[in-house]
Subunit: 352 residues, 2 copies
């Protein structure tokens, strides 16, 4: 149902971003990049959660130098996040970064940018132009609406890269304000052929940041805009990766592990549906397949949803009806609910 914007693909190490490549999920390490062991450990944990591209902050030369050792310990592409000092970008390239992120808000000297672009071109390493509301430079367009200003800042730098015959470009235009972010991405999506990296910046703690990110990134993805994404949260980055995949799953853009349908429960419910759903969810953490399981509390929507899932249960007073692949399996007693669901899930896993 979603008609995806056609973008010109680039390769970040082994991962293609843009074109018809799957929308990839990124995160960023929160360790001190100079601490090679801690950084590698965090990247490995994120890789286990499905993270497909990792970005690391490069605040100084020691951090740039660490890239070489970090790369040896990890299996996903690494992007160096550069601000202020173009020499850090040059060093990151030398040390094997698979991609660069430059902030046009704080690397303004054209000669410096040219040096980085020529070095990236030699190595065929893509550059993301990462504009951020919190670090916009002043400029000719700063009197314009904020979204136009953000787009202009990005376009100026894109043109500089293009003038150097460099087109391994991605663009991001992040703001904390969700409508601003949406508007900025929509504007540039029509003006540029490059892949877009989506995100809501500084979106805060998970309880609020996940919602801001889901709304903003979700609206753009449903428009067909976006080739890779990072959910920024003030939390462990594994929460960023999980949220990223959930956003993609909610729009049927990617599969990533199981889907649990469960009812909110209400005054009609006669079993402890929330506890049952939580236990089934905990069990499903070990399942990698995109199996759909429904835990439902009554006869209103229960049979309909349970029938629509791979495994489902519609619970009533003291007993429930178990479904598998749309067919009734049998009636089960309340004390067997969990065991019966798990047995059917296991059965589907084994027969796959």
């Amino acid at each position: 149902m979603i008609k995806r914007r056609v973008s010109r693909p680039v390769r970040i190490g082994t991962v293609t971003v843009g074109g018809d490549a799957p929308v990839s999920v990124q995160s960023m390490t929160k360790t001190d990049t100079r601490n090679i062991k801690a950084t590698v450990d965090q990247i490995k944990e994120l890789t286990d959660c499905g993270c497909e591209i990792i970005r690391v902050a490069i605040p100084d030369l020691e951090a740039a130098d660490a890239i070489q050792s970090i790369k040896k310990g990890i299996s996903i592409p690494l992007i160096a996040d550069i601000h202020f000092d173009h020499r850090l970008a040059l060093q990151a390239l030398k040390k094997g970064a698979d991609g660069l992120r430059l902030n046009p808000g704080n690397i303004r000297d054209k000669e410096h940018i040219k040096k980085v672009v020529l070095a990236a071109k030699t190595r065929q390493i893509p550059i993301r132009i990462g504009v951020n509301f919190g670090s916009l430079p002043p400029g000719a367009s700063s009197e314009l609406p904020i979204t136009e200003h953000m787009v202009n800042i990005a376009m100026e730098q894109v043109k500089l890269l293009e003038s150097l015959d460099f087109d391994l470009i991605k663009i991001a235009l992040k703001a904390f304000d969700v409508p601003t972010t949406i508007e900025a991405y929509r504007l540039i999506a029509d003006r540029m052929p490059y892949p877009l990296h989506l995100g809501i910046t500084e979106s805060g703690l998970p309880q609020t940041g996940i919602i801001r990110s889901a709304v903003g990134i979700g609206i753009l993805l449903h428009d067909g805009i976006g080739d890779t994404l990072r959910v920024s949260l003030s939390a462990h980055p594994r929460e960023e990766v999980a949220a990223g995949f959930e956003i993609l799953k909610s729009l049927n853009i990617r599969e990533h592990g199981p889907v649990l349908v469960s009812c909110p429960s209400c005054g009609r419910t006669e079993a402890d549906i929330i506890a049952l759903a939580e236990t089934v969810s905990a069990y499903l953490r070990r399942v990698k397949k995109p199996i759909k399981v429904a835990v439902m509390g009554c006869v209103v929507n229960g049979p309909g949803e349970a029938r629509d899932a791979d495994v489902g249960i519609a619970c009533g007073k003291g007993r429930g009806v178990l479904f598998k692949k749309g067919e009734v399996v049998r009636t089960v007693e309340e004390h067997e609910f969990l065991e019966a669901i798990i047995r059917e899930i296991q059965d589907i896993m084994d027969s796959a």
Copy 2:
């Protein structure tokens, strides 16, 4: 920036839904409705969280009778959720329900519906036609795409109500599948003038259900569609209310308490930003005003975001720059970060 669809307003007790009324946030009790004390206590707790309309399940006559006593203990409008048996709707009306939700999937007898509509008309009580993917009836349109079938089911019942000269109507078309839900609401938004109640049904546990709901409800709201909403979660209903307001806040549709901007932190950060953000967030729980606070970890986006907030701090190594209403207040030492932020928040609160 959002152009809202114009709908015909209805009144649920003291709350207007539709027209230019604020998009209201609803929830549903998870207590046994017949347990009057537990139900009233839960509704009061939800009212304290900002819940504006409450729905209660009416599975039997005893639950319908309980409405009278529940209403005496609460201050927000109450909607009776009816399935299968139209007599429960008649009794709920008698006992003072401010609104009815009927499911056209399981109350099909036209004579029964007519009785309910005439009783609602006498009392000028609105009816929500709540179509749900999990409880669709078979019918002439069941060969059509699922969204068209859902819309047809709703339209058939709307026409029946209109034929009885009844127009105090709201409509909901909920599915677990987010693109299906969006498509169904978009279709009916163009065909009917009535207010729309938004939701993603059976969306599951908070970690996934909040994301599904934020994406689906967010996309519709950003389209200008939606007059009231309920986030359905397998969790305590206070989480439904909080998520509902966060979705509205993310699109600048409603204000509801403070907004906390905070950075995800990265290898550049030299203070424990996540812990500081969590502590500030806990403090802000007692603040009702829509104050914007920014907790930022470095000089890249820190000053820009901190300057944009009512109170902000851009933290560096051992010290940070404190901002208030866009101006630098002073430099503070790391051990004073929290105290300094709280003092400025308090100062703004006191001077308001």
